[in-house]
Symmetry: C2
């Protein structure tokens, strides 16, 4: 403890001197961060470090000095003072409980974050690259998801595809009941799980439920099974929340764009007039919201419910895809 206080005092002196030197080089009254009495300033600085009521203030003081140091015209002087600044910053960052040291992490989620896990080589052989994309109607989200899947050469699933797959599974199940042949289902689960038959028997088991709920739960099962067996892009269907609840690693993206831009986009691609497009989008947003909030209990489109939210209108389709690919950092894969 004593050592720490001593260190803080010493650092306070170095910070004070740095400010003074920067001031001399810059040569203006604006260049001085500490204008008060030296002794008081040193006590204040040391206190900021060892009582740390809020790292914030100390950081602002330091940033102010370095911002000014960067304007020094003499290159060698600037270099010398920036080196001293960097060295001070390192010392401060090595103090216990200093700013920037206490991390912010959602431990459960971070362990499920495909991106982080991949970076840290903490993925098991059974983990796949699952990209869940939620989007607002008219934001180009479907185009982006489809093209992304195509570029990554992985499967693409949207509502229509799920509907078709569900219908076929149902048809196949009936056929299977007759013949006992599971072969046809295999392509959706390349790796055979021991519980394949069990899962399949359970499929469509939600008898007491209203039809739409039964569909949702069957779809949830299907999404989990897919995510366990292959890399893919999944559009909507609350896939992010479903996978989170089932502890299956994935990346969750939300793609949106300002309302007026979406209106224009919908008018362009659906041959609607302004009034029709506005009505259509309002209705779709309402439905999306209702569906997501009903089945997940989470708020639709709230940034903290996703890994990343992208405003597609600020990039355009092509650059949005590139942005996502850069985020995936495929070098690491």
């Amino acid at each position: 403890m004593q050592d720490n206080q001593e260190k803080c005092k010493e650092l306070a002196i170095r910070i004070y001197n740095l400010d003074e030197e920067v001031y001399k080089c810059v040569g203006s009254s604006l260049g001085r961060t500490f204008t008060g009495q030296k002794e008081t300033t040193l006590r204040h600085l040391a206190a900021l470090m060892y009582t740390k009521p809020d790292g914030h203030l100390l950081r602002s003081e330091l940033a102010l000095i370095s911002n000014m140091a960067r304007t020094i015209r003499d290159k060698s002087e600037r270099r010398r003072l920036m080196i001293e600044y960097d060295s001070i910053l390192k010392e401060i960052e090595s103090l216990p409980d200093t700013f920037g040291q206490t991390d912010i992490v959602d431990k459960e989620r971070i362990s499920l974050n495909n991106l982080i896990a991949r970076r840290q080589n903490e993925i098991s052989e059974n983990d796949h690259l699952i990209i869940c994309i939620s989007r607002t109607q008219g934001s180009g989200g479907n185009d982006i998801g489809f093209e992304l899947a195509d570029q990554l050469q992985i499967n693409y699933y949207d509502a229509e595809i799920f509907d078709q797959v569900m219908k076929r599974l149902q048809a196949d199940k009936n056929a299977v009941s007759d013949t006992g042949n599971f072969e046809g289902f295999d392509k959706y689960r390349k790796k055979k799980h021991t519980d394949l038959k069990t899962w399949f028997r359970e499929f469509n088991r939600y008898h007491g439920l209203p039809k739409q709920d039964a569909v949702f739960f069957n779809m949830s099962d299907l999404i989990c099974e897919l995510a366990k067996s292959e890399d893919c892009v999944i559009m909507g269907r609350c896939a992010d929340a479903i996978l989170k609840n089932n502890h299956i690693p994935h990346i969750s993206l939300f793609i949106s764009a300002p309302f007026q831009v979406r209106v224009q986009h919908v008018m362009d691609i659906r041959n609607m007039n302004l009034k029709q497009a506005v009505r259509f989008l309002k209705q779709m947003d309402k439905q999306h919201k209702k569906y997501y909030e009903f089945y997940t209990g989470e708020k639709w489109g709230k940034p903290e419910n996703y890994d990343l939210c992208i405003n597609s209108a600020n990039y355009g389709l092509k650059d949005t895809i590139e942005l996502i690919r850069r985020m995936l950092d495929q070098k690491v894969r």
Copy 2:
């Protein structure tokens, strides 16, 4: 027009045949996308292409076929059919008004998007890398912004720094009035604008306004001046909206994290108990929201108002910074 219809018919046949071939290779009733009568299916497919009521359905059909084609075990067969699929996709994408072709862009914003402009080498000598970071309290946003600025070796500005700079400018202005010496101000505007004196004279001119509004407008001026003269990270202060309204290129980020994670983070760094932390955060969120919405008329924390929203708790401080840097794609710089 006639040509286009012919092309659509021809593509319909190729799609139908591809589905049939994939079906043969996969060998299951699930493998067949088109189970109806051939003539009807071809008419339906061609119609999807040339009446294009919604590209969506056609895309889903194609994705379903390619998803299945990717499961073909025989490598050379798979390769052959995927080449045919890619070729069909390219043909469809070259049709007029097909899916994925109508871009979604906010033209005004895209011209101001630092990132896009940089990529396309459309930046002028006078454009700078300006990163505006909005964040919720407790999301680690300040730590991220400070560290990012340090890594990029550019200036960092937050509320405290602005306050100090404003005070000094005020002091300097008074001094200047006496001595006529503008030198001290120069470091905040490395390039001398011809209107320097005018701007400076205008500084703090908002007389009739309540004090907080005068402060806001002076700060807005300062932010615009900074953004015109140097690369920097600007925390909060509605900088994104201010720069947008003034047509100055910038990147806008919103950093947040789920409420319960922020509560834990605030408890850790501010030595608060649960109750204090919850009350503190609710109050700060309310203030942030009120301030932003009052001065910008935009909704605070709505994904489409930013280029990108990041959930810092899903990455942690270090990886969030890395994510942003990867997004900046510094290779291009």
